[in-house]
Amino acid sequence: MNEKQELQVREKKELKEESTHEGPHFTPDVDIFETETALVLIADIPGATNDGIELDVKDSVLTLRAKVNPMETRWKTAYAEYDVGHYAREFRLGHVIDQNRISAQVRDGVLTLTLPKVERALPRKISVTME
C-alpha cells in the first residue's frame, strides 16, 4: 500500500467584505459532490455549535452561517497560529434542487447538507389513435 498522505495546514480564509456582522468571519472549506439522487455539501466549521448554524435558501442562493462562541475571558493567548471566528459562505444552486427537502446534520464540526435533486417527470407514452 502507498504511504498515507500527510495532512497540510491551510490558512483560514477571512472574509473581508463582511461589515454588517460583528467579529471576523472565515470561509469554510467545503467538499461538494453529486450522487444519482442528490448534491451533497460538506463544510468544515470547527467550533460551531448546532444552534449557531443558520441555513437559508433564497432565490437559488444557499447561505451558510455558523456562529462560534468566543473563548472564556480567563484564557489569555500565549501563542497563536490561527484566528477564531464565525463562518459564512454562499452557494448558487442549480434549479434541479428540491429546495424543500434539503436536510442538514452536524457532527464533530462538520456540516453535511443533502440537497435532493428534483425528480424528473417520468417519461410518458402518448398513444396515437387512428380515426
Binding site: E6, L7, V9, D29, D31, W75
Partner: protein, 142 residues
C-alpha cells in the same frame, strides 16, 4: 576595520539582497522552531493555573486521535478520513485528508501526568495544569 570597509564598498543592491536573505533565513528558522505549518495549527492559552492547547481538527474519529505526553511535550497524532459514496462526482474538493503528527513544547512547569484532553464540535482542547509549586500563591503576613 577591514571587514566594515568591505561592506561599505560593496554594491548596495548586493547588500540589500544579502539582508533579505538573512531575514528570510531567520524567518524560516523561527517558523521551524515554532513548528508552524505542521497540521494542526495550534493556539496556546494560559489562565494562570493551566495551559491549554487548542486545535481545530473537524471530522476526526475520536479513536483515531492520540495524545501523548513526555515531560512538558505534548504530541498530537491522528488521521482524518472521509467516506464518500461510490460513484460520487466531485464539484469541489477543498477539505484536506490524511495523517498528522505534531509535537508542542510547553514550559517546564507543566505536570505531564495531569494532562487531560477533550474533543468537542471538531475542536481539540488539551489541558495542561501547571505544577502547584509554580502557581502564584498569596503569602499571609503574620
Amino acid at each position: 576595520m577591514p571587514r566594515a570597509r568591505w561592506w561599505w564598498g560593496a554594491d548596495p543592491l548586493e547588500m540589500l539582497n544579502e539582508m533579505r536573505r538573512v531575514h528570510e533565513d531567520l524567518r524560516q528558522t523561527s517558523r521551524e522552531f515554532a513548528g508552524a505549518g505542521v497540521y494542526p495549527a495550534v493556539n496556546i492559552y494560559d489562565d494562570g493555573e493551566s495551559y491549554m492547547i487548542r486545535a481545530e481538527v473537524p471530522g476526526i474519529d475520536k479513536n483515531k486521535l492520540e495524545i501523548t505526553t513526555k515531560g512538558s511535550e505534548v504530541t498530537i497524532r491522528g488521521e482524518r478520513t472521509c467516506a464518500t459514496p461510490e460513484g460520487a462526482a466531485f464539484h469541489r474538493r477543498e477539505r484536506g485528508m490524511g495523517v498528522f503528527h505534531r509535537v508542542v513544547s510547553l514550559p517546564d512547569d507543566v505536570e505531564g501526568n495531569k494532562v487531560a484532553a477533550s474533543y468537542r464540535n471538531g475542536v481539540l482542547e488539551v489541558m495542561c495544569p501547571r505544577a502547584i509549586a509554580s502557581m502564584p500563591r498569596k503569602v499571609t503576613i503574620s
